[in-house]
Symmetry: C2
Subunit: 388 residues, 2 copies
């Protein structure tokens, strides 16, 4: 087991904590994380991005903080309270958990988010650009929860719909729509909770940097009853999602909300698995979408080889000139710290675009990996280019 | 510590489980709870309402299932997986948690709900009348999340707003509004999550048993900056909530949604602490509300003494005839299994109403205590009487 302890635990060494902290460079300016539960003092984050948490477990043998793929041993004090810190984390949002004598559980100090295939703890490392998704005194849109039954999957599904500020007041106005998808092991809650899509748009619209738009956030897992077993392999979802999107979600949204229904008023984007899915959907349905955004993903994932335009997505990029004309914006982005296969596969995709003469926007999120800060920034960039 | 074990743990006794189960009357028809996380097999519930859960904690010394005020010891098998069962629980929704070597944590098998002052595990014991809040193939309203800044509390607040089926399509129609409040140590998420208020109304409206209405679910904790310390004593909230309700929430809702703004089109109700709060608000503002619902609570709580109408709520019930004329419905309800001081205080309140000649509706939820099944049923009953 790999163990990194750049921020050394000091809880059991209160008497000598100052000296100890100096010698091991623990920056003692920890503050409660902004996604803590009400009145919970822990977890905390310091100015170097170290996470410190604390839990009472008097009878436990070992408690660990499990974040960023590393398990950090925590230390018990005389009252049975365990405290421990992580190494510095990248700015932005991270999933994590505690391990108590072998049990992986959420930290009872935090609010919970769906990711990594579970509802679990999250922590927010304040980012230098957190203003883009801060809750500010600007007009706020609504995020609405909509339950619907899918005849294709024979199951209840749910989406969240952002309607921009002014939607209720301007009863005669119709709006363009962005369909925005989460990644693997995430769900329809991701973009409005950890993604803060609503706040990003509220802020952009207040500054007139983005057009008022509706955003639809649905669940990318959609399987027909006979292919239910595909649930166990969510990185390769059966393509029922495309059917659900085109035959059920879009008609439902157009019927229920005041939408503009021409292709120039409809965009689609997704992150990771959602980037892969939405690229396929966009390219199979260019009559319905004029904007595509791929955040940390492309449909050649995980392959870094040169793309054969004859066969890739059934030749969807073969006529580069036509694709270039039809997609008003083809947007790609990723974090500078993303591991393979993302740089390789996205790089190969971009080379294909260049070869085919298809213009695209490429963005790199500084110092972030395959995580939500990359995708918040991607949405912030992408949304400004839509419907103009 | 009180320990009840009507459903004996059998996980460590797999070989002899059948015999053991028979001798101790464990009914082996457990099924996953309907509020489990996706693809999680545990916790489970059997037909007698016993809860069985399971967690891997190979190094733990003791793991307990903590539900209904009782901690049930779980038993470890050879692979390090702990399993345990509770005694039968009342039908409906319950909060619970696990205890691992002294650490109180959420069960990683369930979705999480805000109650008991924390985000934690919930379980659903299928109720005989669960049809009233089942997700059915009927038209569904929206539940919208609205962030707003309160000048009174100088803080960001949030409410959830249910708009009924047809709200978007009938752009010329205005709707009556029910303001519906949670209980102590709960928040604005309670009524749409564990309360299922939206599904209860969707089903009632589909059967034409309730008028289409808007429901506003806000947070009953509202403190001015200088009384922030009152947060630690939430059963006696400072009355800033009334100011927020009357001066901020209602005007905001009337401005943003298509509401009917006469008093006959505005109802208020709450559960427990919310019943107490909303009774005070209704009686102080009878010009604004014509309907009051108190679910498991009244403003004389926790007192069971005879009410002095000269002093109670500043004499609000002194002119019984006027109150009787102004409140089109005064509705009270509670569960038959509720402990004191609820029966006593609600009973004393009802005696006062009778003495003052104030008509009221009284409902008892069969075989439920001070929990959500009582309040789901209360809303189901109360909503049918509104705006008619």
């Amino acid at each position: 087991m790999k163990k990194v302890k750049l921020c050394i635990t000091v809880a059991a060494l209160v008497v000598s904590s100052t000296v100890f902290a100096q010698s091991t460079k623990v920056k003692e300016d920890f503050k409660p994380s902004e996604v803590n539960q009400p009145r919970k003092a822990f977890p905390q984050v310091n100015s170097r991005g170290c996470v410190r948490t604390q839990i009472s477990a008097p009878e436990a043998n070992m408690v660990q903080l499990d974040i960023g793929g590393v398990k950090y041993n925590m230390v018990k004090d005389a009252s049975g309270v365990w405290t421990g810190e992580s190494a510095p984390q990248d700015e932005g949002f991270h999933y994590y958990q505690l391990n108590i004598d072998g049990a992986s559980v959420p930290d009872p100090g935090t609010k919970y988010f769906y990711g990594a295939g579970r509802w679990g703890s999250g922590i927010e490392i304040p980012a230098h650009d957190r203003e883009i998704y801060a809750l500010k005194d600007v007009p706020h849109g609504l995020v609405s929860e909509l339950n619907y039954f899918s005849d294709i999957t024979k199951a209840w599904r749910r989406c969240f719909v952002y309607t921009p500020p002014g939607y209720e007041a301007n009863a005669g106005k119709s709006y363009p729509v962005l369909y925005l998808q989460h990644g693997s092991f995430e769900d329809e809650t991701g973009w409005s909770q950890q993604g803060k899509a609503n706040l990003i748009l509220d802020n952009l619209i207040a500054k007139k940097k983005a057009e008022p738009m509706i955003i639809v956030m649905d669940n990318g897992y959609a399987f027909k009853p006979q292919t239910e077993q595909a649930v166990g392999n969510p990185t390769r979802p059966a393509m029922a999602f495309e059917e659900v999107m085109m035959q059920e979600i879009i008609p439902m949204i157009d019927a229920r909300f005041r939408t503009l229904t021409n292709r120039e008023s409809r965009a689609i984007a997704g992150l990771s698995m959602g980037a892969n899915q939405t690229m396929r959907i966009a390219m199979n349905n260019l009559g319905h979408f004029a904007y595509y955004g791929g955040f940390s993903g492309t449909s050649n994932y995980p392959n870094s080889d040169e793309i054969d335009v004859e066969t890739f997505l059934n030749g969807a990029f073969k006529d580069g000139k036509k694709v270039d004309q039809q997609l008003k914006v083809l947007w790609l982005g990723m974090g500078t710290k993303e591991p393979e296969p993302f740089p390789g596969s996205i790089g190969a995709f971009r080379k294909m675009l260049d070869k085919q003469g298809i213009e695209h926007v490429y963005y790199e999120s500084p110092e972030t990996a395959h995580e939500w800060q990359t995708w918040r920034r991607s949405l912030y960039q992408y949304a400004q280019l839509l419907f103009k």
